[in-house]
Symmetry: C2
DNA sequence: GAAAACACTTGATTCAAATCAAGAAAGAAG
DNA sequence: CTTCTTTCTTGATTTGAATCAAGTGTTTTC
């Protein structure tokens, strides 16, 4: 957890007391592969930073699972919609690789954002980023063909192909594993 | 503009002075059919309420336009991502029907949200709503077939089919106008 | 370390939607 | 009102991805 706290210190320059309070509010959690971080209908009541590992966000349908997002180390994990509204989640989040997480409880976070303008600002920026991301993803699903989405993902996030089981990647692209396999054969030959 | 101001009065119960200030900050704008409300690369610098009419939000590609959202009377119109970040828009918004709009300038809105907690709260709720909407749309594009999306839209927003040219609806559903026409023949027969 | 379970690839076939191509209907413009 | 343009429908064909079906490779697990 050194890196996150180091960066917080660098950016926010909290006093030693504030820093100590912050450290106390953090819980370290370890997940094994396939452990759930958030289950459908649960309320996401924390802000969580991934120290190590990777996770996937997915929807559960009667017939199939649809993977909609990936999270890696040095980023936050969660369903922002669920978190902001503090309402039951419509998505699941589970570990792909073993994870080490830094968990801040929701009440603690709210206290920070309410009392510390810099945190409020940070929260706003995170929300904005997610918005832009959602808008882009929506556009790519509508305007690009599956094959184009594959090429874009390969270009922009090659590491996903290295660290995420291909069936999840296929689902994220909105295609079957067979089709993804054929793209790979065709473009990585 | 009666309805919006009436509701503001009802919900926020501003003083007569505040209400007068508010009314002064509002600009009434009329758009003809196909007029642009927001063009790509412009910055969306207002919060705008639709009194009358309808609009569409769309992406422009070299080959095709992709319609991604519709707006009707008694709701806000805009690209929230663009508004929040005050960065050049990646989308266009144009009138489908003639529109009457109530426009609040960005600086005025910021003043409101910064100085009036109820407005801050309202802004937060609007952001949350858009988030939930984006999450649902993303899910529907990934997990539902074009035909299912058509049926869902027909079920949930039948008015869209009455008031929006079908080629825009087709684009919104991610299908060609021909396919939409066949669905209609099949399901509305 | 062998067996079992799971993940990925490859091939054959099917299917749904795109494309191509006219027509019909509805709106806009003179 | 009539013409011209745009929008929508309907039909024939093509195409790209899904499905079905093995087979190969790779982890778990006992």
């Amino acid at each position: 957890m050194k890196r996150l706290l180091f960066n917080i210190q660098r950016v926010f320059q909290p006093s030693a007391d504030e820093m100590a309070a912050l450290e106390k509010a953090i819980q370290i959690v370890h997940l094994k592969k396939n452990d759930f971080f958030l289950k459908e209908n649960e309320i996401c009541s924390s802000v969580t930073f991934i120290e190590k590992g990777s996770m996937r966000l997915f929807y559960e349908s009667p017939d199939k699972e649809v993977c909609n997002d990936f999270f890696f180390e040095n980023s936050l994990v969660g369903s922002l919609a669920g978190f902001l509204t503090q309402s039951p989640s419509i998505v699941n989040i589970a570990a792909i690789e073993p994870c080490e997480l830094l968990v801040f409880d929701y009440p603690d976070v709210m206290k920070l954002t309410e009392n510390w303008p810099a945190w409020r600002k940070l929260a706003d920026i995170l929300v904005q980023e997610q918005f832009v991301r959602a808008e882009k993803r929506e556009a790519s699903l509508l305007r690009n063909s599956p094959e184009e989405r594959f090429k874009n993902l390969l270009e922009e996030h090659p590491k996903i192909f290295k660290r995420v089981p291909l069936r999840y990647v296929a689902s994220y692209l909105g295609i079957t594993p067979e089709t993804l396999s054929r793209y790979r054969a065709r473009f990585l030959a």
